[in-house]
Symmetry: C2
Subunit: 229 residues, 2 copies
DNA sequence: TATTTTTGTTAGATTAACCTAACATTTATA
DNA sequence: TATAAATGTTAGGTTAATCTAACAAAAATA
């Protein structure tokens, strides 16, 4: 059984090595800064996690997760994102409120709890920030994010975020029925004025390219990289 | 901000002093045994909690909660029981599974989380074990528990537990529509054979005194002691 | 390449929560 | 009431996670 602190180090290492492309290692100072501790503290923990065979680490070298460490880290990310989704969808938390509480909830130890939560949420693929929720088997699909304006006509996609946070824009978003995790169908694009016809939950709307440029989506039909651990 | 351990000591002290009638103090050994630690450990913590003005404690004396300590303890019990209710009602956990996970969840720090959970559960008064859930304001009603057989005709009550755990009994319980937290109306008692007519969620049934003796209830209309902290 | 800057390590200290072993006080009982 | 038993306390030690300060290695740059 890992301590909350150990779990946080594994998660940090995953975040630092997966989210930056072409980089599967992190330095001690970098890791310490990410966790808000001093390098000396991180150094001790790196040695401890190496003993437990959860990371690769050599003196003066960068660190990376082992297969086992990566599995644990993905499990924590999965729990974090499922809790965020629960807080957002069932308890009316806003985007910016979910993270802090999920940081605590992700360390609750109960596999049944997570399975049941997943079921309650109907096996979501994305959290309220539009980030992928790893599956129970530890698979983590990393779909390409693009804007609604870049989506191909005829494709089905899903809103995962916005670029513009102004009130006028967000009200507009709301008006056409859009929200995080909302599926969108791109029906057509008017050749005359470039307006994009979309269908959201049965409601058809036409939106401008400018509007569409500010909606971040992931494509349902597009190829996704799948990384298993 | 209290640590998880400090919270557990306060909760233990509340449980040891409220559940036993006529006893609002607990000894060091008793407390230590309840928490599964050595008396020396509990002793250190008692001094620490006294410093924080959360308990009354004097060398070689018994300990009790201060008004402030009691408030904190009740808040933890409230969280524990709300989480138990959530696990039972929304995630399909069984009675005996909820406690262990709630022990962890009760320490999550977020007042919004608890308020929203309370709302989601529709402000329940009892947890799946039939124990009272303290209100948001820290009031803790302690209704008298009795069996269904002891309930007065015409009264409304609520099932909070069973005395018999045999499969035949539990199937019967299920058949008449009974479950934890289920309101019951006692319609009549047949003078001829003592059968009790009850109404459960619109469904009327007649049950024997033997059956009714094994159903633990709390009375809705009866007087309850209210203890505020 | 020599030097400075950045990065990483070690040693030693601190705090919280636990322990054991020895001791002190209170309570029960012979 | 004297003594045994139960209960409570203290002193000193351990582990996990943190720190600071001093030092070592690697990387950047003049």
């Amino acid at each position: 059984m890992l301590s909350t602190t150990e779990e946080n180090y594994l998660k940090a290492l995953l975040q630092l090595t997966i989210e930056q492309v072409d980089k599967s290692e992190a330095g001690t100072n970098e890791l310490a800064a990410h966790l808000g501790v001093k390098p000396a503290t991180a150094n001790d923990m790196l040695k401890k996690l190496r003993e437990k065979q959860l990371i690769h680490y050599e003196k003066y070298g960068k660190s990376s997760l082992t297969v086992e460490g990566r599995k644990k880290a993905i499990e924590i990310v999965r729990k974090h994102r499922l809790w965020e989704t629960f807080l957002y969808e069932h308890l009316g938390f806003t985007w910016d409120e979910v993270h802090e509480v999920a940081e605590q909830l992700e360390h609750i130890q109960s596999s049944k709890l997570i399975d049941k939560l997943d079921e309650l949420l109907d096996y979501p693929s994305f959290d309220p920030h539009g980030d992928v929720i790893p599956s129970a088997t530890g698979e983590m699909k990393i779909p390409e994010k693009k804007t609604l304006n870049e989506e191909t006509v005829g494709h089905q996609c899903k809103m995962v975020g916005v670029k513009d946070n102004s009130a006028t824009f967000l009200q507009y978003v709301d008006k056409v029925g859009l929200r995080i995790n909302q599926p969108i169908k791109v029906l057509a694009r008017q050749p005359y004025d470039e307006l994009i016809e979309i269908e959201v939950n049965g409601l058809k709307s036409s939106v401008s390219p400018r509007f569409a440029d500010n909606i971040i989506i992931v494509c349902h039909d597009c190829e996704t990289q799948t990384r298993t651990c």
